[in-house]
């Protein structure tokens, strides 16, 4: 039987689209590239979703007005956003919690664990993989057909701006009346990253699923979809160099940076580690490391601050002197010792160290400076991490209209081709980072794409 809607992808946006299309009455086939055990794309690694709300929610205190949400978006993107799409994402986010609950998703209960509930973001009970499992259960119960290990490599053209199905990597052709592509970015495609980053791409860590190689994105371009976004752009963080090449998730992120210093392969500091509160700055460190020689760096801190930040999965390297630590970090001992001595000597004495605020513990006359949380690194044992840039997601995507239909290079929408999630999020989040916003875009536009695809297919 020819499905009304083919959904390409298997993470949040794809599942949202599939469930929405199914609930709108369509016969839906979802094609997930990963095997069942690894299903769910990068949603497996998520934890929370950003939601606008005018009154306190069970899982989010206070209010987060659409206007404030929009200001946050303008701030991180420098104003570079498609306003019409952004407005839809923000406004419709308010209805997302109830929709998610209706699919069986539960929220992290208040007042448990170490997590203090956020005003802007709702946290999933059990994190993103639990949401993914819940969505698959719900989708399958509703009658969505799911195929795993199904890699889409091409969209089948059926006329001018019309697709009539998809082709899998084995050459199998699957017909469908409408197609929703929600298959993420291309961050796991080292060759593609290499087109913009050269051999540096070989040294990036990919924090998410190894299945996001952008084949479906490429298929969209091959079908004539219009590109959106900076191809070099990605969100990344400082990761432990021992992280697996792919799929290491949140646990290899290094949060020690504001508590110490970071040096590059030459043993030199290269950026203000105490520029701003860490939640506002951690997202720049992946890019900073990516731009250093060898795409490598090392974080150094001492016993005074050990245990003050969220630990990562692997214990830090440890030594009794800076020189020894430098050797463990595969750096020149003399260079690192000199850097630390210079940094220690530049610290303005008399400050009161407080990691919760901009404490003013700073260096004077040092280039680059450390503007806050500058404590001498002098109390053994000394600790260090070798760092790599860990890519979370890419921004490159396709242009869509407010109905989630993909727009072709001439600016005209396809008739029956839709996109949702990371492969179109760059229309809204062109750069920068807002925690939980990728899922907001994926869910809002997944629902829109699913509904509209179902309506088109059944018309």
């Amino acid at each position: 039987m020819v499905p009304d809607v083919i959904v390409v992808g298997g993470g949040n946006a794809a599942l949202t689209a599939a469930i929405s299309a199914r609930r709108a009455g369509a016969e839906v086939l979802l094609l997930e590239r990963a095997p069942e055990r690894m299903r769910g794309g990068n949603t497996r690694h998520t934890r929370d979703i950003r939601i606008a709300h005018d009154a306190p929610l069970d899982a989010a205190p206070g209010a987060y007005a659409v206007d404030e949400f929009f200001e946050d978006l303008l701030r991180v993107t420098g104003g570079e956003t498609d306003r019409a799409l952004a407005e839809i994402a923000l406004r419709e986010s308010a209805g997302v919690p109830a929709w998610m609950e209706a699919q069986g998703v539960r929220w992290q209960p208040a007042l448990t664990g170490t997590l203090h509930l956020s005003r802007t973001n709702l946290f999933f009970l059990g994190g993103g993989k639990h949401v993914v499992n819940t969505y698959y259960d719900t989708a399958i119960r509703l009658g969505v057909r799911v195929r795993y290990d199904a890699t889409v490599t091409a969209l089948l053209a059926g006329g001018d701006r019309v697709v009539e199905g998809v082709m899998l990597d084995g050459g199998e052709r699957i017909a469908g009346r409408a197609v929703v592509v929600a298959a993420g970015g291309f961050e796991a495609n080292v060759g593609w990253l290499g087109e913009y980053w050269g051999e540096a791409a070989e040294r990036f860590v990919i924090r998410g699923t190894p299945y996001n190689t952008g084949l479906a994105l490429r298929a969209l371009y091959d079908a004539g979809a219009k590109r959106v976004g900076d191809p070099r752009g990605f969100h990344s963080t400082a990761c432990d160099a021992r992280a697996p090449r792919f799929d290491g998730g949140i646990v290899t992120r290094i949060d020690s940076i504001p508590f110490g210093i970071v040096v590059n392969a030459s043993g030199k500091r290269f950026y203000d580690e105490g520029e701003e509160l860490w939640p506002k700055r951690y997202a720049i460190w992946g890019k900073l490391i990516a731009e250093q020689p060898g795409q490598t760096a090392a974080a150094i801190f001492d016993a005074q601050v050990a245990g003050r930040f969220i630990p990562s999965a692997f214990p830090p390297l440890r030594a009794d002197s800076i020189g020894e630590l430098a050797t463990l970090l595969e750096l020149d001992a003399a260079a690192v010792t000199a850097t630390v001595a210079e940094y220690n000597a530049a610290i303005v004495p008399g400050g009161t160290f407080d990691p919760a605020v901009l404490d003013g513990c700073a260096t004077r006359g040092l280039v680059p400076p450390k503007s806050h949380w500058a404590l001498p690194i002098d109390t053994p044992p000394l600790f260090g991490y070798r760092l790599r840039a860990g890519i979370t997601f890419t921004y490159l995507g396709v242009e869509v209209g407010t109905d989630a239909r993909v727009v072709d290079e001439g600016g005209t929408p396809f008739e029956n081709l839709y996109a949702a999630g990371e492969c179109m999020a760059g229309n809204i989040l062109s750069r920068g980072y807002l925690a939980g916003f990728g899922l907001t875009i994926g869910t809002v536009f997944g629902r829109i794409a699913g509904r509209n695809a179902a309506r088109h297919a059944r018309a």
Binding site: L125, P311, A313
Partner: protein, 371 residues
């Protein structure tokens, strides 16, 4: 001490959990682990018994096999639990019963059956053993009341001593504040309500998804067990205080409680066996699952033989069924300190420790929410 490789593996896996923390809404284990970076045997025993095996963390974890982190907390903690049961068993020499719980239970039941059969025939005579008995004291024509009472007291007393000895050394090793009334009370509530089989709202394992089946079935077994115990107590009261000699009429307190208890235990135990058989085979430890099955099977057989004994108590099958029921009770009591039965002791003590540890609100931390 628990096996060193298990301690190292616990430290490795919780190193990943403590950097992630996505599961902290499910149960007490993850908040309890968060402050710990180095683990001793006592920490592992504590976390292992704090775990109620709901397996929701396995369902939710992005790092389960085939991921190279190979995180599998339910299997790890189940294996550790099986080790704690053996480590704290008293006397230690008998702990090897744990290694082959099914065979141990079956052997004990078979030997008890043979011994009781010989005793019954020797005391009542072969003809009486094959004849129906009715009226007051019918059971005592097979075994005298004194023999039944002394057997029951012997096995109960031994079981209690053995379990208390294990509990005391567990409490000492893991640092359970056994004198904290508030912690004891909160833990009692959490244990009786089976709070941690709720999976923070998501439920507990059942064919790859959460449900309340296990909590309900466990309730059948637990409350059935208490009803059966109450039935025995009521029987003692009727006989010794009221002078009513069993068998009791069908509409008497001991029989009604016994039937309710027996049916509940049978339904719960069979249901739990079925639930375990259809659940995911990955987040389990082989050593623990055989303890589970052995205990549930003995419980179910005790309940079944008790119900059959009641149903056929006026027929010639009564003496043989009485022997069988008593033999199964011997197997249940003899293996209790060395099998799954002790789970409630260590789990309760771990809940007490957790209640005491988490009483003061822990400091909130930030920064874990961003990817």
């Amino acid at each position: 001490m628990l096996e060193l490789d298990l301690i190292a593996e616990t430290e490795r896996q919780f190193g990943i959990c403590n950097a992630c923390r996505y599961c902290e809404g499910f149960c007490a284990v993850f908040p309890a682990a968060e402050g710990r970076t180095a683990f001793g045997g006592g920490d592992v025993a504590y976390l292992a018994n704090l775990c109620h095996d709901c397996r929701m963390c396995f369902d939710a974890c992005p790092f389960t096999p085939p991921h190279e982190y190979a995180v599998n907390i339910p299997a790890l903690l189940a294996a550790a639990r099986a080790q704690t049961y053996e480590r704290y068993a008293w006397p230690r020499a008998l702990a090897r019963l744990l290694r082959v719980p099914g065979a141990s239970s079956a052997t004990i039941a078979a030997v008890a059956f043979a011994v009781l059969l010989v005793l019954a025939i020797a005391s009542s005579g072969a003809a009486a053993f094959l004849a129906p008995h009715t009226g007051p004291g019918a059971f005592y024509r097979i075994f005298s009341f004194g023999a039944l009472l002394s057997g029951a007291l012997l096995f109960s007393a031994f079981g209690i001593v053995a379990i208390v000895a294990g509990a005391m050394s567990f409490a000492r090793d893991t640092g359970v504040p056994v004198r904290s009334a508030g912690a004891l009370a909160r833990a009692a509530h959490e244990a009786l309500a089976l709070v941690y089989l709720r999976g923070g709202g998501a439920g507990c394992y059942d064919a790859h998804r959460g449900s309340s089946s296990r909590r309900v079935l466990h309730g059948f077994v637990f409350w059935g067990f208490l009803a059966a115990f109450a039935s025995t107590t009521a029987a003692a009261v009727e006989q010794d205080l009221l002078g009513i000699i069993p068998p009791f009429p069908l509409l008497s307190v001991p029989v009604v409680l016994g039937v309710l208890g027996g049916v509940a235990i049978l339904a719960g135990a069979v249901g739990l066996i079925a639930l375990k058989r259809r659940s995911d085979s990955e987040p389990v430890s082989h050593r623990m699952i055989v303890l589970d099955y052995a205990f549930l099977a003995v419980l179910a057989l005790v309940a079944l033989s008790g119900l059959l004994l009641l149903a056929l108590r006026t027929t010639a099958a009564m003496p043989a069924l009485l022997v069988a029921h008593l033999a199964l009770l011997v197997a249940l009591y003899a293996t209790a300190p060395y099998g799954k039965f002790v789970h409630f002791v260590y789990r309760y003590l771990s809940l007490v420790k957790h209640a005491a540890e988490s009483a003061p609100a822990r400091a909130a931390s930030t920064g874990g929410s961003h990817l």
